[in-house]
Symmetry: C2
């Protein structure tokens, strides 16, 4: 999916919501466990009930990988069920030397039909570039994450900036606002104004709203750019809104609340 | 596998060789392509012909993931074929917020029977600790990698040390020399003496010998500690030594050269 299409979808749906499918097979409603693939059945109903309210789904691969081959089957069915006009993000946080990163890029962009993959920056340019080589695909590089461990390295001073700022500034030159986004956690709301000065045009993927406590209002006020430039992710607050047979309708209700709020900020 | 067993195996085999199974399905000898699982058949023959010469096998998961479910099947068969007295390393470079890293730890330590997994440090303590919670399993944290991109962030100054030094010093306190190793690339030979001052007791996993040009002699002289403390990895130079029907014997011949050389340095 190219940038123009993504921005069009945001304006059309009046939403920059990304729904995180961190689907834990031990947390899905009991009545689904008799389905041939309970995790896919859960995801299918979530997608069918929310696809008009969001512009992206983010599949957290760890929750699928931990179930082995059955998990990868659920992942494949899920990504193939997402409509083409919605961005399909593999939240996989890969990154390795060039010939290995090329294999990871192949995994998510060719073997599975994702539009975007999250990548860790630690190993530098040649570990990221194989992902950027794909046309109309997105590399979403970790910048400042939402967890407490962000203070260990990301927030530490490196010369006259902090590590995550150096990552944003340096990596912005490896790609463009058309193929590179950055992860910035919603729990880091104080940082968004400064981050927008470093990367004014790039999309930011913002996890940490909801269960992790970040504020949608704060982020939207501080980080929106002229092309919106935001994908705000919520996972657990939406997909685990209820564990009854009405889980998908309850998930829709929460997603709808986010979309209503986003519509306000888009005015 | 605990540290005592690993050190015993090194002394018994007179080897600290790790063989990297970066098995690319497009690079294996043609005569194997008729086997039900050509990648496993290749790995099986490599393992059967080298298992007395090495103390670890490192499976680069990217080369398996890129083949989808078939690749994970090959990976599972391969790890299950490695004898119990040899360290089974998943070179997966994972790392995410705590609840997600816990899923990755489960993937490699429970769903698949690995003894160790490589982890990226960028996201800090809570992204690494779920791996360290497993008894008799190893977390192998990226320190200073062998690729050119190491200069982008890892080698940049952070206060009075460089980022990779801060990672080694900080992370050493998250685990112990009994459950935590560090990746230090063989191409960074000048750094080994200083690194040993920072982490005198930890094992170092050293990729980059062979195809990437690092010197086994340099590393062994500078980085060996009283418990040896080294696992030196070679991948492509061993497994792709030949593409004939004798590929496994040729791989053995190269592995034997490394082991002969290591035996000298162990004196």
């Amino acid at each position: 999916m190219d940038r123009r299409t993504l921005v069009e979808q945001i304006r059309k749906k009046q939403s920059y919501l990304c729904i995180g499918l961190d689907t834990d097979s031990t947390k899905i409603p009991k009545h689904l466990l008799d389905a041939p693939d309970p995790v896919f059945e859960f995801n299918r109903q979530i997608i069918d009930n929310t696809k008009d309210l969001c512009v992206a789904y983010k599949i957290n691969t760890a929750f699928y990988e931990s179930r082995g081959v059955k998990g990868w089957d659920s992942l494949e069915r899920t990504v193939d069920h997402i409509p083409d006009n919605i961005l399909r993000i593999a939240d996989a946080k890969r990154g390795d030397i060039g010939n290995t990163s090329a294999q990871y890029a192949k995994t998510f962009f060719e073997t599975y039909h994702f539009d975007a993959v999250t990548v860790a920056p630690y190993m530098g340019a040649d570990s990221v570039k194989p992902f950027l080589d794909y046309k109309d695909k997105w590399t979403i590089l970790l910048g400042l994450t939402s967890n407490t461990g962000a203070s260990d390295f990301e927030l530490q001073q490196m010369g006259d900036e902090r590590l995550f700022e150096k990552v944003l500034r340096t990596a912005a030159g490896w790609g463009s606002a058309d193929n590179l986004m950055f992860v910035v956690g919603a729990t880091q709301a104080d940082e968004f104004t400064a981050i927008r000065k470093l990367v004014p045009d790039h999309f930011l993927l913002v996890p940490g709203v909801g269960a992790q406590g970040g504020s949608l209002k704060d982020i939207s006020e501080k980080a929106m750019n002229r092309d919106i430039g935001l994908l705000v992710n919520a996972s657990r607050t939406i997909i685990y809104a209820s564990d009854t047979v009405y889980f998908a309708e309850e998930a829709r209700a929460i997603a709808q609340q986010y979309q209503f709020e986003m519509k306000e900020y888009l005015k």
